[in-house]
Symmetry: C2
Subunit: 321 residues, 2 copies
Amino acid sequence: MASEFDLIDRYFKRAAPPGMLGVGDDCALFGVPPGMQVATSTDLLIEGRHFFPDVDPRALGHKSLAVNVSDLAAMGARPIGCLLGLALPEVREPWLAAFAEGFHAMAHAAGCPLIGGDTTGNPGVLAISVTVFGAVRPDAALCRSGALPGDDIWVSGALGDADIAYRLLSGQMPPDDALLAHTRAALDWPQPRFALGQALAGVARSAIDISDGLLQDLGHILKASGVGARLYLDDLPVSAALAGVPADRVRHAVLAGGDAYELCFTAPADRADAIRVIGAESGVAVTRIGAIEAGTGLTVLDADGAPLRDLPRGFDHFRSS
Amino acid sequence: MASEFDLIDRYFKRAAPPGMLGVGDDCALFGVPPGMQVATSTDLLIEGRHFFPDVDPRALGHKSLAVNVSDLAAMGARPIGCLLGLALPEVREPWLAAFAEGFHAMAHAAGCPLIGGDTTGNPGVLAISVTVFGAVRPDAALCRSGALPGDDIWVSGALGDADIAYRLLSGQMPPDDALLAHTRAALDWPQPRFALGQALAGVARSAIDISDGLLQDLGHILKASGVGARLYLDDLPVSAALAGVPADRVRHAVLAGGDAYELCFTAPADRADAIRVIGAESGVAVTRIGAIEAGTGLTVLDADGAPLRDLPRGFDHFRSS
């Protein structure tokens, strides 16, 4: 068995960017520009709980970092770098090479290089921890607590694909190879909205990334901000790939499907034009889906203006099912 | 089962220090003083691999953070805060309460408050990831690559206890309740040398914390610095608790025993008095154990000045045995 040190060197040691100290010391070192704070987030991903055991290791490497970069985006932070902890049940070098390739490609795309970590054996399942760092001006950070009554509610991209792909793969929907082919990339290769998130810093008032479902994640903003909201069902951006899927299934996927990694954010109504420009410049569709209200509670209105009953609860695929 | 959010609130949410944003948003936020860099390190600890399944949860909470704070100390960094990832096979609230108590007590002692994290279920074993942040002046950071020929080699505290406790607990030594009573605290409650490490920043030239054994960890300094070293066996600080242990067992524990979390560091010979003062002010014994030499290789000399043959390899208890 190759030693921990050999593995780290071969697959994870990369030259650190200028001004940083990377893999190979007791700590990594990095700086932040004057006046900015460090934004940081960590996720622990467990085989069988957060990903299928047979997932493509390149996709897993990508997604392990992507879901953390998505947290930086939801804070409006510019990525600086990341740490990776890997507990491997066995050393399968082709697997590790593919995982590293997916991880480094995401790191390169987001400007979030790997600067340190920990690799260890593990008698049980595969466990992956990723910690990301970014820089943000404290007064521009997109906290969950910033929403105010009258704010528009926006969402990036289109919703529902990842949920449908998960249900196809887990046997909760009948096999449909064409539908799976059109939706699986959303589940396996989520694209964190880091350019959009940074551009929204100082413009939007609050943001969150959708990991557990739109309703549940927007609920975190409402709770932290002490406000309510209404959403317009017909305004929710639905993935074009879902055209042939039954309407109730689509509705559930859009409102409660996890693993979307789109941004849900709020902004003053008079910034709507600015936000459309930011979306266009970031190359990401942005859609106004509702408004923040005084009080509490979350209402979804149908095309007739009637509130939906029995709203689906948000959830994370790999946690509750 | 209590939800992830309930558990986080109950056991891990604490008021963030002034100027920081803590648990409960997409990211935690913290600042660093002008001119300083962020030092960061992460560890992934797996049940059965890094700790015994029946370990006292308070001790485990303490040690999970302590081993990371030790990495900050080895860099000369002042602790700022930490993130915790917990994958729990089952929710045992008394266990979680005790773990949190040990974790928060260590955080308080080191000035390294918990500011974010991730909690999830896990079908397999318990997994713990901890990431720490500290602040250090980049020109004062104690990198592994800074040792120069002529430097003294120092070590903090006394060595050997944790190794002996591990061997007693794992059945590699015959049962000895008195010896276990005197050594177990070193294994379960390691005391990271954060005050000493900060005071050494800008004075010592290189440092590492001893997690895998003195010889192996000093070897990392030698490799990174491109130098060799000699150590004086009789100068190595041996724990008083090991007085009745056979000499060959003690020698192995001191040279190769893991989990010590003492600092091994090098400094110019003319700073010896300053280092003794720093040790006294930090409340930690510091002992000069050898010297850095030009070239490569690590020699341990006995009382007669003869080099030891068959040096034990360094290792981590919970990885290779």
